[in-house]
């Protein structure tokens, strides 16, 4: 019965393919769009002393042929004091591939605040937009098909008022230039199909890299030369070379949607969970070829490597089990049964912490005895990461908080509100920072681990999921 059902579906598929081909035959159409992705970020050149506010109501780009392309962001109110030294994302959009030479902003109002008084500023006049000002900038960048880039606009707020009444913002536009010398973090953006690159010293976006569809899991190789991105929408794995910061290879995952990664003890094999096909792929890092597939439980999600014992721990969310895989034989050597849905894992010293996505518990499994203890943490944990000073950091998407769990006391000592639906986390031990990716608010919260507070929020792409830091 089952076989006939599947056969029927595949037959229907073949027929729909035939039909679409017949319909299209003989017609030469632009089959795919030749667009590239662009992000525009705005920041202040220096800490501004003037308090200026203006509204951007339109944005357009002109290519080398003189054609204008409107990207039409939602009206954005920009204030110099609020912008300060941070960075905001103005817009994320697509432009046809080609060279671009001019940028136009349409400004609907501008004002200058001094004390409690607000003074309106005159806008640059134009013939076509009465009442709105238009600002033109010369730019020089190229958009390539299926690639992504950032444009960084720097605003010198203190020199933006001419003759004491005219708003004439001084802006500089630079396209991204990813230097390999920077200390970087990479964030996968599921809905933007790209990876955002952040400079960890300045905590600002320095670029984006286009990858496959719906990127989720992301991991760095042990030597920091490559970043692996799991494209769950295109069933592939993108390999980014960090020395040039571009995709150098795409590994076909044989039809399975990849989710999360773990590296073997010697750094030679990359393991990736495939939730839809209930197995784990083993990929040889040198050749980027899938060399094995290990069957585990249903809907394997989280995976973590125990390099000292040469084991992998995989949480099978739908079969309520955890598979223990021997890395040398690449086989499941035991299966631990739990009583609710295990999801993400963290291995800290000799303890495996398992987040349960449906109850307020964390399982603590002692290795190698495999005894399981349950800790009630008072919130629904999703993501876990080993922290500093005997802490495990747990993110709760339902409460929008990150909690610090003390590993000896098994008690939460601090909860810090972050953005909407926190997901992946990464720890920079040298700079004592915790990066928390907020899936629904599209940003990254930077937490000072010593002061236990959010220091900065960095806007990234849409629905960011995971983060990988280059280790030092």
């Amino acid at each position: 019965m089952m076989k006939r059902f599947v056969l029927l579906i595949l037959t229907a598929l073949s027929m729909s393919f035939f039909v679409s081909c017949v319909y299209n035959s003989g017609v030469k159409e632009p089959i795919y769009s030749d667009a590239g992705q662009v992000f525009v970020y705005l920041s202040c050149y220096n800490e501004p002393s003037l308090d200026i506010t203006f509204t951007i109501s339109g944005m357009s780009f002109m290519d080398k042929n003189g054609t204008w392309y409107d990207v039409n962001p939602e009206p954005l109110v920009i204030n110099s004091k609020k912008l300060s030294c941070s960075q905001i994302k103005l817009k994320e959009f697509y432009l046809p591939a080609g060279k671009y030479e001019r940028l136009k902003w349409t400004i609907s109002e501008a004002s200058y605040n001094r004390g409690n008084k607000k003074f309106s500023l005159a806008l640059p006049e134009t013939a076509h937009n009465r009442g709105n000002g238009e600002l033109f900038l010369d730019i020089d960048f190229n958009v390539f098909y299926r690639e992504s880039l950032c444009l960084f606009v720097e605003w010198d707020a203190d020199n933006s008022i001419a003759d004491n009444y005219l708003f004439k913002p001084v802006l500089t536009v630079k396209p991204q230039q990813l230097e390999i010398k920077n200390i970087l973090a990479y964030i996968s953006n599921e809905d933007s199909d790209c990876v955002t690159v952040i400079d960890r010293q300045e905590d600002s976006v320095v670029g984006t890299i286009a990858v496959g569809e719906a990127p989720r899991g992301i991991a760095a190789s042990s030597d920091g030369t490559e970043i692996y991105v799991a494209n769950s929408g295109s069933n592939s794995i993108s390999v980014i070379d960090t020395s040039v910061n571009r995709v150098i290879d795409t590994i076909d995952n044989f039809g399975y949607a990849p989710e999360e990664f773990a590296l073997s003890w010697d750094g030679n094999t990359l393991y990736v969970t495939n939730p839809d096909s209930n197995n784990v792929s083993a990929i040889d890092v040198a050749s980027n070829l899938v060399i094995d597939r290990i069957d585990v439980g249903k809907n394997p999600t989280g995976i973590v490597a125990d390099k000292d014992r040469r084991k992998l721990y995989v949480s099978n969310t739908d079969s309520l089990t955890i598979s223990v895989i021997d890395m040398d034989t690449r086989s499941v050597e035991r299966t631990l049964t739990v009583s609710s849905n295990p999801r993400y894992l963290a291995l800290c010293d000799d303890r495996l912490y398992v987040a349960n996505e449906r109850v307020n518990d964390i399982y603590v499994i002692e290795i190698p005895a495999y005894t399981i203890k349950t800790i009630n943490v008072g919130f629904r944990p999703q993501w876990l990461v080993c922290g500093l000073t005997n802490r495990v950091y747990a993110a709760s998407a339902t409460d929008n908080e990150v909690s610090f769990l003390h590993t000896t006391l098994n008690m939460v000592t601090r909860s810090i509100p972050v953005g909407d639906s926190p997901a992946g986390m990464g720890v920079d031990a040298i700079r004592r920072k915790l990066y928390v990716v907020n899936n629904l608010s599209g940003d990254v919260s930077v937490i000072d681990v010593t002061g236990e507070r959010v220091k900065k929020t960095i806007p990234v792409g849409e629905r960011p999921h995971g983060i990988a830091l280059i280790a030092e």
Binding site: M2, K3, V6, L7, I9, L10, F17, S20, N24, S25, G26, E29, I31, Y32, I180, K181, I183, D223, T225, G233, S243, V244, I248, D252, F254, G255, D276, S277, A286, S287, N288, L289, K298, S319, V324, D326, E333, T337, S339, S340, R358, V359, N360, D361, P368, Y370, N376, G378, T389, N390, H406, T408, L409, M411, T413, R414, T450, G451, E452, E472
Partner: protein, 701 residues
């Protein structure tokens, strides 16, 4: 039939010329040359290997919704080791895939071949030929309004070219899933069929597993999220049918072990040895059957129930490569009731050593009992060969078995006022197997109440009570735990954070309290001045075990001072110390103190270069000291050249030194050259030195 449908699909795609499409051709090549040596005492072993991998791929966008990809890879490896002949292995792996994506569904189908033992790249393989083929197809709908449907098909076929075949298997998986969300309810149904066939002569068998699964989930909150509720019910049934057709066909089932048993010599009772059944096949249980060990060692296990056993597997820590010349011989015994009176059932039982899995397989006539042991009548030729684990297996007789599992989770929370919260959680996990009618059920209730208070402008507090009840059908008494927590938080300055947490818990079995534990944690974190961060944790933990009875008192201090000396130079000093005092049932007090000091220095004068040094000293209560000294340099010399060097010295009962250097050179956009050098030296009872040079030339386009 399905796989031919996929082939037809792909052939039509490649023949279609109607639409314009972008082609992407990619390729990669990698050549790894490795040369190394290991010197122990006066013995030197050399290893050389040459590994070549080449891959060529094509990706063609037929339309904006359909793409086709194909690639073929080949790998050849030559390995030469001292004392062994040169080994050559080869692999050939072509692969094809068709993907269709549109607003309504995602679908893909593909084929992959893995050939081992073919003659490729002018090399004749030393391995016997083995072919593995994979076919798969997936279909997932994308509609949000309607139920989401997913279909999956996977086929795997592996066979050799021996006559008769030694390996000839086929497996097929069909899976269908439907998922639908209606308001706050989510429904999922899944059915899968998994069939594994063995075609080897006299071992012909078929195993079919049919799994049905259903799940209902809900999540709902009321009154502006002041009342939250969620839950899910999951039911799974798996029916497995096994049919053995060949004369030698059988299915092995591992028997459940109750206890591991061992005694050095003797004919009487064996002692409880948990390490033999802890699941850790890598770590030794302290039983040496090597030449420096003994013969007549008794290694056994007690089963959960009397069952038929026909194979015993003994795992070893080392890989015993000399069993062919110097086999370890085993006698097999059983005891029906008591682990005291043992009956010999087989002398010098049939035994072989499986090198890939590092275990002995001891076979004998199927016999039923509750206790089994094996006794080694000879020793291995290795100086040491440590036993790590014992497992027992018997043949499954029943052709059909069913495993049903039900899982219920319910969660509710109420927050009547901002400062108060009460939560309740219920979980039940029930499992049944047939035909042996084994049932297990675990139920847990968890209730907690928490109150928060702002005591002062700079002082917050919360108090929580939590009760957990657990019922296990295999135990007569329920278990419960009461936990009381009190927490104070103060941040009077932006640069100063402190908290005090106090916790008390008392687990019970039935009405009898098993133990009481009280712990407290004082945490202070301060930015003393710009660039100077100090963090201190003081922890007291007192446990009274009423069963044994013993008292344990642990005091721990963790401090962490971080200094940013300049923009480029940071140093961190960590100090951890703990004192443990234990008073046993005879009122004898023992104390132990352990401490660890660690210093880290991180120097990054420019972004392209950093130097890191760390030194760690550990002292244990017995006076043992161990140190770890590490250096690391990472330098991006130019945009094309990168160097990484590591040096590490571990000193404890032995001295171990490791040095590695790695130079990577981007010769061009296509070529990368990498040179690695690794050296290690280990001084214990003997001196062992290893050295490896590796050169990797890779190309990608």
């Amino acid at each position: 039939m399905i796989k031919w449908l996929i082939v037809i699909f792909m052939l039509i795609v490649t023949l279609l010329q109607s639409a314009y499409a972008a082609d992407e051709i990619s390729g990669s090549a990698q050549i790894i040359w490795r040369s190394g040596s290991e010197t122990t005492e006066n013995k030197k072993e050399k290893l050389r290997s040459l590994n070549q991998t080449y891959n060529l791929g094509l990706r063609k966008d037929i339309t904006s919704k359909i793409n086709f990809s194909a690639d073929v890879g080949v790998n050849a490896t030559e390995t030469e080791e001292t004392g062994t002949d040169e080994q050559k292995t080869t692999r050939l792996f072509p692969r094809f895939r068709l993907n269709i994506t549109n607003d309504y569904f995602d679908a893909n189908g593909g084929y992959q071949l893995n050939e081992r033992g073919l003659d490729v790249l002018g090399m004749t393989s030393d391995e016997s030929r083995l072919t593995t083929e994979n076919w798969n197809a997936n279909f997932i709908t994308r509609s949000v309004k309607y139920p989401k449907l997913q279909f999956r098909y996977d086929e795997n076929r592996t066979y050799d070219y021996e006559l008769p075949h030694e390996t000839d298997t086929r497996s097929e998986i069909y899976e269908a899933t439907a998922d639908y969300t209606y308001k706050f309810l989510n429904f999922t149904a899944r059915r899968s069929e998994n069939e594994i066939e063995n075609f080897v002569q006299d071992k012909e068998s078929t195993e079919t597993a049919t799994t049905s699964e259903g799940r209902v989930e809900f999540r709902k909150s009321f009154w502006g999220n002041r009342i939250t509720s969620s839950g899910n019910y999951r039911w799974t049934e798996q029916e497995t049918e096994r049919v053995a057709i060949g004369a030698e066909a059988r299915f092995l089932d591992e028997r459940d072990r109750w206890a591991g048993l061992y005694v050095l010599t003797g004919t009487g009772a064996l002692d409880d040895t948990p390490a033999l059944i802890d699941g850790n096949i890598a770590a030794g249980a302290g039983i040496d059957i090597g030449s420096s060990g003994d013969t007549d060692q008794n290694i056994g296990a007690e089963l959960v129930r009397t069952e038929e056993v026909e194979e015993i597997w003994i795992y070893t820590e080392q890989k015993y490569t000399d069993n062919t010349n110097t086999p370890v011989q085993w006698d097999v015994y059983l005891s029906d009731d008591d682990n005291v009176t043992w009956d010999l059932i087989e002398t010098n039982a049939t035994s072989e050593y499986i090198q890939e899995e590092q275990r002995f397989k001891i076979s004998f006539t199927p016999t039923s009992a509750k206790f089994f042991k094996v006794v080694n009548t000879t020793k291995a030729s290795f100086i040491n060969l440590y036993v790590t684990e014992i497992k027992l297996f018997g043949t499954t007789i029943e052709p059909v078995s069913t495993h049903t599992r039900e899982n219920i989770i319910f969660d509710a929370g109420i927050r009547p006022v901002d400062w108060m919260r009460v939560t309740y959680n219920f979980t039940q996990d029930k499992s049944e197997t047939d035909p042996d009618s084994r049932t297990t059920r675990l139920t847990a209730h968890n209730i907690s109440a928490r109150a928060d208070a702002d005591l002062h402008k700079y002082l917050k507090a919360w108090a929580q009570y939590q009760k957990r009840l657990e019922y296990d059908d295999t135990e007569s008494d329920r278990r419960s735990t009461d936990t009381y927590s009190l927490h104070f938080d103060s941040s009077p300055l932006e640069t100063l954070n402190s908290s005090l947490s106090i916790n008390h818990s008392a687990p019970k079995k039935g009405s009898v309290t098993q133990s009481r534990t009280t712990s407290s944690l004082l945490h202070i974190a301060a930015e003393l001045r710009e660039g100077v961060d100090l963090s201190v944790d003081g922890n007291l933990n007192y446990t009274e075990n009423l069963v044994t009875p013993t008292e344990t008192f642990i005091r721990t201090v963790n401090s962490d001072l971080r200094l940013k000396l300049t923009r480029a130079l940071t140093t961190e000093i960590k100090y951890t110390t703990d004192w443990t005092t234990t008073c046993d049932s005879d009122n004898i007090e023992t104390s132990a103190r352990n401490s660890t000091v660690r210093t880290d220095l991180y120097y990054r004068p420019v972004r392209s270069f950093y130097f890191r040094w760390s030194y760690e000293l550990q002292r244990s209560s017995g006076g043992e000291e161990s140190t770890v000294n590490q250096y690391n340099i990472n330098w991006v010399m130019t945009e094309k050249l990168r160097l990484n060097m590591d040096y590490r010295i571990d000193r404890n009962s032995e001295v171990k030194t490791i040095y590695s250097a790695d130079l990577a050179w981007n010769l061009s956009k296509v070529f990368v050259l990498r040179c690695e050098y690794d050296r290690s030296r280990r001084e214990a009872d003997t001196l062992t030195k290893t050295q490896t040079f590796t050169t990797i030339l890779s190309a990608r386009f």
